[in-house]
Symmetry: C2
């Protein structure tokens, strides 16, 4: 099976154009078939504020109302996605931007209302990997923003980590997939304040150990749950770290395997 890199780039990197350009340099240099996945970080919140759209929260959870999903579509699907695509084209990487609605690649359902109505938030139901497969075969690099659709005309705000994870699982049928989460930290750290304390390898038993020792907590917990969900779904390995890990040099980063 051929190798495939799926790379999710974090919000902090996207927010600073200098960091984004550096990331795009590294991503464009990755050999072989690859897919980029991005959200938009605080850029959507910034636009909402400029437009006077209030951020709605219930029990500390953010609600995506009709106005907010429109802002997200403009920022993630328009501004950020097209900026990334044009930036990759300038680096001779033949990128093509996608939301999940495009080519019906990722379909989802509006999150069912239990205690909280999250609004226009999508839980992924499935990935149509056939079209993506064909595009990868002819040298296209799909660039996905964090938007899916319900098949009935509604766009849905969807977590970018989840999109990367679902794409990775969907494409594991035909590729040996490495799923990369690029963010501002060099990986899973024993001591959050010390970038040299990276845990280089995590497997299922090491994961349990880290959980018991409370090394993995807060924001990292759902991320790592996603990673193991991907591995159990057929993904070959998951890597977490700064964009430099894409160069396969001696940089510190975390590798996860079952």
């Amino acid at each position: 099976m051929r190798n495939l890199h799926i790379v999710k780039v974090g919000g902090n990197i996207i927010e600073k154009d200098e960091d984004l350009q550096h990331f795009l340099d590294l991503f464009a240099n990755l050999e072989g078939p690859k897919i980029l996945v991005h959200g938009g970080g605080k850029l959507a919140t910034e636009l909402a504020e400029r437009l006077g759209i209030a951020v709605k929260m219930i029990d500390g959870r953010r609600i995506t109302d009709a106005e907010t999903v429109e802002v997200i579509t403009m920022v993630y699907g328009g501004k950020v996605n097209k900026h990334i695509v044009a930036g990759l084209q300038a680096r001779n990487c033949n990128a093509l931007g996608f939301s999940g609605a495009d080519g019906n690649t990722i379909y989802s359902v509006k999150r069912p209302v239990k205690n909280i109505d999250f609004g226009f938030v999508g839980d992924v139901v499935g990935v149509n990997s056939e079209l993506i497969d064909k595009l990868l075969d002819i040298g296209i690099t799909p660039a996905f923003c964090a938007i899916t659709h319900d098949g009935k005309g509604q766009l849905l705000n969807t977590n970018a980590d989840t999109i990367a994870c679902e794409l990775a699982i969907g494409l594991s049928k035909s590729y040996k997939v490495t799923l990369n989460y690029c963010f501002e930290k060099p990986g899973v750290l024993i001591d959050v304040a010390n970038d040299d304390s990276v845990v280089r390898e995590i497997n299922t038993s090491k994961y349990s150990e880290l959980l018991e020792d409370k090394i993995i907590a807060d924001g990292l917990l759902p991320k790592l749950e996603n990673c193991f969900y991907a591995l159990k779904g057929g993904v070959n390995k998951v890597q977490l770290g700064k964009p430099e890990m894409l160069q396969n040099t001696n940089t510190n980063f975390t590798t996860l395997r079952l």
Copy 2:
């Protein structure tokens, strides 16, 4: 050669969601391979106003500065394009959104500065029809917004009529192309106030006649120049009229041939 419909939908239709949905019904029902092209009408101006971005004009011509091209990217490439793609998916039409940067499909140059610096406005240099061809072959319907790129990372605001025209010429090598301009009028009118005064057929000699009689003037002149440029470039025929003409019923519309 197979038939291909390229349909440019006008700004007035996009601005009212009811009209847009009606247009999408008609477009989705078109048989065979097809491409949609859209701008965003006044929706970009509305967003610019809400953001306090002043419209810059020189000698009555609009200037696209850095802030404006960003607004256009958000509105045309994000909000409008994804809304259209999701709407077509809901109608079982497998749409895939494009700017000219996506797949490097339409590349352009920033309009050279003569008397006026128009800013980030693109004059189309070429169309890569190969990728579009392959997508049409597997049942994908490309939906293009009015944005191109310069291959160096810069997105450029580009006239949607021109994009439709250049795509039609580029694809004429492999298809018998009908180029459709859908707008709020039923076609070229002898009397602008009378929708029943449609000129049904215009060829080169009829065109000269209409020009002499000053029937074609103002906004229609560049549109018809575009049409004849397309016909001379190999497009089979051009149709102008209300969206209903896509149904090929007995509605009034204008057909142009050489």
